[in-house]
């Protein structure tokens, strides 16, 4: 009876092809959407994301003609008990010049803890022009109970920074990753 229908293709073939489409779309989320999003964020500085590894400085002219204000913000996520604050809240820097500062961290608890700082730049347009040559955010930071540490940050503001940007805010959010780290150690 199927022969008198309009289509000569068995329905099961159509169904199998469509199942293939569904499987491909499921994979698409993981192998395309997630990496693509991360690449786009890195390239375009979307969400104020900065590079996750050290910038290799290229020797350039220091632009003495203008000054950019860099503000530092330190935030603790959720119930993170650490003390965490920038040594200087505001720096005035020349584009092209290498600058350094420190953030102070204290662990008021008696247990050793591990933290991860996540940076974000505002305005996000400035993110591609803010180069960190050294940052405590590149790695997880461990502190023994009741210990304190000075965490270094070295950065260069690119001399190609658009001239209408006068202030850059660098915000760090400190996350408690102790559980995640100990879980990993336990499963290893």
């Amino acid at each position: 009876m199927a022969s008198v229908r309009l289509s000569k293709v068995p329905a099961i073939d159509t169904a199998l092809k469509l199942s293939g489409v569904a499987v491909v779309m499921f994979a698409f989320v993981f192998v395309v959407m997630v990496p693509l999003y991360n690449v786009l964020c890195d390239v375009l500085g979307i969400n104020g994301k900065t590079a996750g590894s050290a910038y290799t400085a290229v020797p350039v002219m220091i632009d003495e003609s203008r000054e950019v204000t860099v503000q530092f913000v330190a935030i603790k996520n959720n119930e993170m008990p650490w003390g965490f604050s920038p040594d200087e809240r505001i720096m005035r820097v020349h584009p092209g010049a290498a600058n350094g500062t420190i953030f102070r961290a204290t662990n008021p608890t008696t247990a050793p803890m591990v933290a991860q700082a996540i940076p974000s730049i505002s305005p996000s347009r400035a993110a591609p022009y803010f180069h960190k040559t050294e940052c405590f955010c590149f790695e997880q930071q461990g502190l023994a109970g009741l210990a304190a540490a000075d965490m270094p940050l070295q950065f260069i503001v690119d001399q190609d920074l658009p001239r209408d940007i006068h202030t850059i805010t660098l915000s760090y959010t400190l996350f408690d990753v102790t559980d995640a780290v100990t879980d990993q150690v336990a499963t290893r």
Partner: protein, 526 residues
């Protein structure tokens, strides 16, 4: 497809083991109506709490569970399955096929739905309560801060996703492979066209939703950091993935509704559908555009200006094919021989109110203005105009229109008309004031509000109770029709109705078109 005819089996096994598209369609429709009442009950709790400012009836945490479950149950439990039920009943009859292409898979697609929703509803009784993060389940609310029941929610989404994908594969295979001789693509009824396109959307985006909840599951239980900034992930990524599914999803809901009114308006205008071909192309354009506008739901996340502009213009572009459709429906009625039976009333109600919802959608598409409207009751008003007055009104119209064909009995026309007017008035009393409170800054998903919003919220609540009650009248009318409605035996129940489903006897026999009919006339010709 045996040579001998046999009727339905008897007892509960008829429904458990059935592979008949009409039985499965019926089960989908009843299931979705049950979910509609459940989701409606949640809505009543929300409106009762918002009847007056201050905390009245429920705890804020429970209020959040209500808004979440209301959205999830209505979208995934009521609207989507109801249109799948309609597709099951009608598509084989409209294209002259004896059944769906894959009847056993059809049975399976339906029967995994009730357990999924049972699981979702059971989270209400779990420790920590039901999911309370809104139907959009943004991370990290739905991951780091979620109640333990979130795992059941994720599993429920997986199951209903699988059900939707199987259902759509079945529909596409039926439409592509089972058409009767002469039923070329451009002769198919609009309802079949809109469902074909909807089914493609479903196959493309339901796996994306499954991916999103899978990532949540892995973040919660397996130590990954897709959406956790601490581990190098990004909560904004969740919103991109969710809305990459979520925007096509809203067209998945509305396109079959377009198909329904494209069947009903010509029937009661006694004229063929105006601009059939442009309707097909407009539907396809809407479906295509739905993939490139998702970020208009998230203008406020801090996108680059170029992104905001792209998504703004792309969104506005959708108004063009949608406008084509609206003008085609109006042109169909123009100089038609109109009569206003209940299905037509609901279709015209759809047309007026959906257009209103479309206009508020255009307002929301303007990125700079959206910063004011974002997450306010203006958004709530907008999407209820398109979801309720759009999808639910057209679904109601569909039930009134085809019910006599299905059961061979006529519903009570006067009760139907009363149902329409109470629904129409109740709906507008509920949602029209929400535009005003939204523009004035009342945020959505909050159990309390500032005093200046009190009057409009009380109106809204009264309207919601009226609208809710009118659905019980609908239920009564449908049951009364099935049990003791006046018998009809005309093949064409409505004098203006056109299409193959009106050529089979009334009530539609258990098996139809075992021998394919020969189709010569284009769809909807008179």
């Amino acid at each position: 497809m045996g040579d001998h005819h046999h009727g339905p089996a008897t007892g509960v096994t008829r429904w458990l083991f059935t592979t008949n598209h009409k039985d499965i369609g019926t089960m989908y429709l009843w299931f979705s109506f049950a979910m509609f009442l459940l989701g409606g009950f949640f809505a009543m709790v929300i409106r009762a709490e918002l009847f007056q400012p201050g905390m009245q009836l429920v705890e804020p945490a429970f209020f959040n569970q209500m808004t979440t479950l209301h959205g999830l149950v209505m979208v995934f439990g009521a609207i989507m399955p109801s249109f799948v039920g309609l597709a099951n009943w009608l598509i084989p009859m409209m294209i002259g096929a004896p059944d769906m292409a894959l009847p056993r898979m059809n049975n399976w697609s339906f029967w995994i739905l009730p357990p999924a929703f049972l699981m979702l509803a059971s989270t209400l009784f779990m420790e920590g309560g039901a999911p309370a993060f809104g139907w959009t389940f943004y991370a990290p609310l739905s991951t780091t801060y979620a109640p333990p029941s979130v795992t059941f929610f994720i599993f429920a989404i997986h199951i209903l996703g699988v059900s939707s994908i199987m259902g759509s594969i079945n529909i596409i295979a039926t439409v592509m492979n089972m058409r009767a001789p002469g039923m070329t693509y451009m002769k198919m009824p609009m309802f079949v066209w809109t469902w074909l396109i909807t089914a493609f959307l479903l196959v493309a985006v339901m796996p994306v939703l499954a991916g999103a909840v899978t990532m949540m599951l892995m973040d919660i239980h397996f130590g990954t950091s897709f959406f956790s900034a601490a581990g190098g992930g990004d909560p904004v990524l969740f919103q991109h993935i969710f809305w990459f599914f979520g925007h096509p999803e809203v067209y998945i809901i509305i396109l079959p509704a377009f198909g329904v009114v494209s069947q009903i308006i010509p029937a009661f205008s006694r004229k063929p559908l105006f601009g059939y071909a442009s309707m097909v192309y407009a539907t396809a354009s809407i479906a295509f555009l739905s993939f490139v506008v998702w970020a208009h739901h998230m203008y406020t996340v801090g996108m680059p200006v170029a992104g905001e502009l792209f998504f703004m213009y792309a969104t506005m572009l959708i108004a063009v094919p949608t406008g084509v459709k609206v003008f085609n429906w109006i042109s169909t009625m123009w100089r038609g021989s109109l009569s206003f039976e209940t299905p037509m009333l609901f279709s015209i109600g759809f047309l007026v109110l959906f257009t209103l919802g479309g206009f508020t959608g255009l307002m929301l598409s303007i990125a700079p203005a959206d910063f004011q409207y974002h997450d306010t009751y203006f958004v709530v008003a907008h999407f209820h105009y398109v979801m309720v007055a759009g999808a639910v009104f057209s679904m109601t119209a569909a039930v009134y229109y085809w019910l006599p064909k299905w059961c061979g009995r006529m519903y009570s026309e006067s009760m139907g008309k009363i149902h329409f007017w109470i629904s129409f008035i109740g709906f507008n009393i509920t949602f029209f004031p929400q535009h005003f409170v939204g523009l004035a800054g009342m945020p959505r998903r909050i159990p309390d509000y500032a005093l200046q919003f009190a009057d409009f919220n009380m109106m809204s609540s009264i309207g919601a109770f009226i609208y809710g009650a009118s659905q019980l009248l609908f239920l009564y009318n449908v049951i009364a029709t099935i049990v003791s409605g006046e018998r009809v035996s005309d093949e064409k129940v409505w004098d203006g109705a056109e299409g193959l489903e009106w050529t089979v006897p009334t009530p539609a026999p258990y098996h139809t078109f075992e021998e394919p009919p020969l189709v010569s006339k284009p769809a909807g010709t008179f």
